[in-house]
Symmetry: D2
Subunit: 376 residues, 4 copies
């Protein structure tokens, strides 16, 4: 079958992670359709050229509008800042391209709705890169829940803690810092980090019914890289919320960029009737598991080193005991997307599913603004 | 100086912990006034006798009213269920006895207020047994904060998770199970477990400004041991709340008895500008500490084994590396109470301080009932 | 039944640990014969008096020869330095006293043999305080092995690491430092620390067949507190050895006082056909357990919080999740010794069993001296 | 500059790891000379073809003799079983090819000596793939030692524990199982696993002076895949040894394939005068560090998440907090080899350095055979 020719929009951190995934997938997974790095796009030609050289893209563009029209592109990968997701996606869908869009889906629910409609109308395969679903330990959590190991779920809790923006000297805006600029990012930790937690939570625990949230911006003004002026900070530095899920479970969520000592501590824990599971991104190759059905005195949290051939995705990598890392979750994403093209069962989350996560994010921000519980 | 003659009301778990503390304190701490186990009181004479024999109490009573009137009692220790705290304390204060009351202070703020007034009027030394302040690692957390190691505090989070009431067959009420009976306990995890978290939080992080809470009772009816009938369950099985502290920090609190795999996981974490600290009751002899001022590449969470002579309280025990346990926090409580008698600086929390914790508990329950933010 | 009147020889660290155990045991265990602190003995009268006051000993002696002759003493507890064990034990046995002797049994195998003979001849109950057998997690390890959970054992490894003697300024000899004086201690880490490891190993894994050892004294001379002069250091600062057990398993042992960062890291691990177990004194309330018979993908090391009522000894203490500490292992020792008096099944290790450990220690030192394998 | 055309001999686990490294290195490191996957070689043509297709090798060979003669090959990578290393290397050196040889260098010291001589004579760049030196946390350990953070080193200890060969049904010999066939592997855990430990130890702690070892083969006979018959097992299933290093430090080493619960637990710990470090392959992105110069009560083992830009190699990968895995150590190997070609400072270990490790392995096996200490 034909290769899958990728047009990449963006050249930052995420563009690297995706490019690496496209390059590696066929070395480790028996894919029928092999990704080819066809076009790299950046507004600045030198940036595009340099990125293309490093990764082996065959050509470059400096205008994403041209990229989405090219005949030699089968799939458009959107790694541009959040405020471009919608516009690019609508154009790509219109041009009949498959779309792989970095998360969060959009700036808000309204944009997300348009994007879902566009891909539906164009009938193009689409996926959003919520990569943590495909960390083997997280995928395994899903399998355990589906197999009924946990029974009724009582509690879900998630945190995503960082500390990289604590300095008041850090500016906002521009390459590498657009996540601090509300105009480009839409929100702060809610869209950047909690969106991951919410995606995982919805996948593992079903839909959220209502939320009560609070947000805070600890540093109120920062120099803006694009204007050169000190400007108000529009993003949330921290956000915490209570949630009730439709299955009756209670949940707490928290994210911040002001938690000293945590570079990327994304943890979740789920407490069920029979068993509990916990995971921490900082030891991403482990799943903690407690089973109440174990023999009484021998009950204890098991620290499962998720590197065996019988663990999700792991038969494709090395041998038991040898861990994979962050980047592999993206390789799994590509592998699943490609398999979805074969089987017709689209890899998740697609745009429609990611829209549901966007709804929760919006309800969270709304709840924080109003200081009251909000139905999703 | 004269001994301190103790009149103990109650003979359950807490009465054991306190009795042990009174017996041990003078073996390890240079106390001037040595506690003497004078009277043990239980409604049932056989229970009182058995408890007195085990612990070496010299006499017994079956009526607490008589105990508080005895001339040979200097201090009354209240280990009866929560719904008796107020009545006993008022009588003991009136009789001029010192009072050491198990937590939480009372059934509600109104009772607490009366108790504070009574001890003030009677000018009797008083203390509430929030023992976790005196786990050496927790005391050390306080010292680090006071020494400015953390700087401005951004986040506080605490959880107290258990799983012992998950069976629907467990009845409510009566000896050992009064904590499940709202009439005896006043509330569920909020007064039993979150009260501990709130006491520690207020001590370490100052006063709470406002809260948004949710509670849940997963099993709605249980057989009542006292009536023999199946009755509605009035306590909260789980409670989670968001809080804003007066110092501007954000906090999350959660407690439940439906968290499989956790017998008594009381953890807290505090994130400051310069450093963070974390503690877990299940490894209570350790304090986790991260200091951003450490040399860059060598930054990491330090796992401090709080067993050195220079750690709080530890010079009184064994040698470095050898851990103490749960019961020792009560010994420290007695030691501090006795020292307070000498110095005139009352050991904390006294009734007045514990009343402030009661106010937060009440605000939490109120917020959950009303589904909105409540000012403390 | 009559009380058990204790005559304590020594007033240092171990004398405190034992005294505490005698005082507490009847509060927590249903003992028939209650220990009474009858006589405390130290060469210096003020020391004896102060120790007796702190712990509630009724009388004092300054001459251990008198103590062992007293009619009001049922059992002699030997907490004097190692070089006195033999002489005191022989006299106590001759006087018909029960003997509880601190470990190691003696200075060498020859002394130990005399001691065993003496207690046999006198038919007096006797025990050596290898307390770590009675840490609940360690006792549980024994139960698991006896229940066949591990199957055939392939490997045993133990380490006991400390760092308290690394300073060259530390003198040797005298109160608190006699462990550094070969004349009082007999050896360094071998008798002080490895003896514990060997006792546990023999208990769990059977007898040692042969060993190959090396020892080192890193600091060759230290001021001697008794002579005031700089003298050669005769003890081993570090000792490591290979061992083959009679059951065919291979073992490694290591102890040192030059391991920065370890106050008292006594760890052992046992690998069996079906399961493995591991324990660390610094988290003494936990047992790590791996069972290969668990469902494949869910295999992992379980961290068992050994605080449940169904765990060894724990039903006597608090509630699940609340840990006990170092001192409790001695309480268990007294409880078992007392139970042994009732049942006639002597608590272990008795002198005869401790002699077998002494034999291994001697073979280890011999192997290090000769630089070759030595049969035990 | 010209590309570096690779001729790969072998198509198993290691051939995959190396091929992946060649493919990725230029995406992440600014290499001047880019590896090109030129020829894949396997005795079986279908295997060679399949491997070449998966990894993108441009051509294949079925005879390694031809491969080493090809003009379009700059560097030969030896991933064949150990018993072929010497012969292939001698031929490749003679043909003037650079050589990257999988570890251990050879079957014995004699072979190793010939290989060193051959590459010296041919003046060809050469390297042995002891990849664990290039796990960032391990490289960081080296940097800390070189910076004097540890001071004088007293102790080194290493273990490499596995459990994959415990079943008696596992045959020996042939593809995937040649490591169990002494004829192909030369030894068991000594050459396969301890060789890694020894390489790291020599790198970090200098040369070994003497050793005392023991080995064991728990399962004495296994079916041989090549002959179809049950044959004696010639490899060591387990090996432990004591060592004295030239710097005066004491060491223990152990490896086994009979340690239930350990897939690949390679751990080492180093205790120095001022600081200690520890590392575990199963959490390979962490370095544990204890510094005695930290403020007294705040001393503790720091768990360093080695994922910051200032950590070795990590600026080339993702962002702080996101871990890399096993395969990356090979990418670093290629990056360093290529850099060595530029700078003329050959990446280590080269053949000569790996020969020193081979000497220690041989002394270990010799010591076990003779049952006595052996000088290296």
């Amino acid at each position: 079958m034909a290769d899958l020719r990728i047009g990449m929009i963006g050249y930052g951190f995420m563009a690297r992670a995706h490019s690496n995934a496209y390059r590696k997938v066929s070395n480790f997974f028996p894919v029928k359709r092999k990704p080819v790095l066809q076009v790299a796009c950046a507004r600045n030609e030198a940036s595009a050229r340099s990125f293309a050289d490093t990764w082996g893209y065959q050509t470059i563009e400096t205008d994403w509008q041209k990229l989405v029209q090219r005949d030699d592109v089968d799939a458009v990968d959107i790694c541009a800042p959040n405020n471009l997701h919608c516009e690019v996606a609508l154009a790509a869908a219109k041009a009949g391209k498959m779309i792989l869009c970095e998360k969060p889906l959009a700036m808000d629910v309204e944009q997300g709705r348009q994007m879902v409609e566009a891909v539906k109308k164009a009938r193009v395969p689409n996926m959003v890169w919520y990569n943590y679903r495909r960390v083997p330990a997280v995928t395994m959590a899903k399998e355990l829940i589906e197999a009924g190991k946990l029974g009724r779920i009582f509690h879900f809790r998630a945190k995503f803690l960082q500390d990289w923006t604590m300095s008041a000297d850090l500016p906002q805006g521009g390459q590498g810092l657009w996540r601090l600029d509300v105009g480009a990012a839409g929100s702060g930790v809610t869209g950047d980090l909690l969106a991951h937690c919410i995606d995982t939570a919805r996948w593992l625990n079903g839909e959220v019914d209502q939320v009560s949230a609070m947000t805070e911006t600890f540093i109120k003004e920062r120099k803006h890289n694009l204007t050169g002026k000190v400007e108000p900070v529009g993003i949330d530095d921290a956000c915490a919320f209570l949630a009730r899920f439709q299955n009756g479970s209670l949940a707490t969520f928290e994210s911040t960029r002001y938690a000293r000592g945590h570079k990327a501590q994304y943890v979740f824990e789920i407490n069920g009737q029979h068993a509990s599971i916990a995971w921490d991104l900082q030891e991403m190759h482990r799943l903690e598991y407690f089973d109440h059905r174990d023999e009484g005195p021998l009950r204890g949290w098991r620290s499962i080193h998720v590197t065996d051939g019988e663990h999700p995705y792991m038969s494709h990598w090395w041998v038991p005991g040898l861990q994979i890392g962050y980047e592999h979750s993206f390789v799994h994403g590509v592998a699943d997307f490609l398999e979805g093209l074969e089987t017709g069962r689209a890899a998740q989350p697609d745009f429609a599913d990611a829209l549901a996560t966007q709804r929760v994010c919006q309800a969270v921000l709304e709840s924080a603004r109003q200081g009251k519980w909000v139905k999703v």
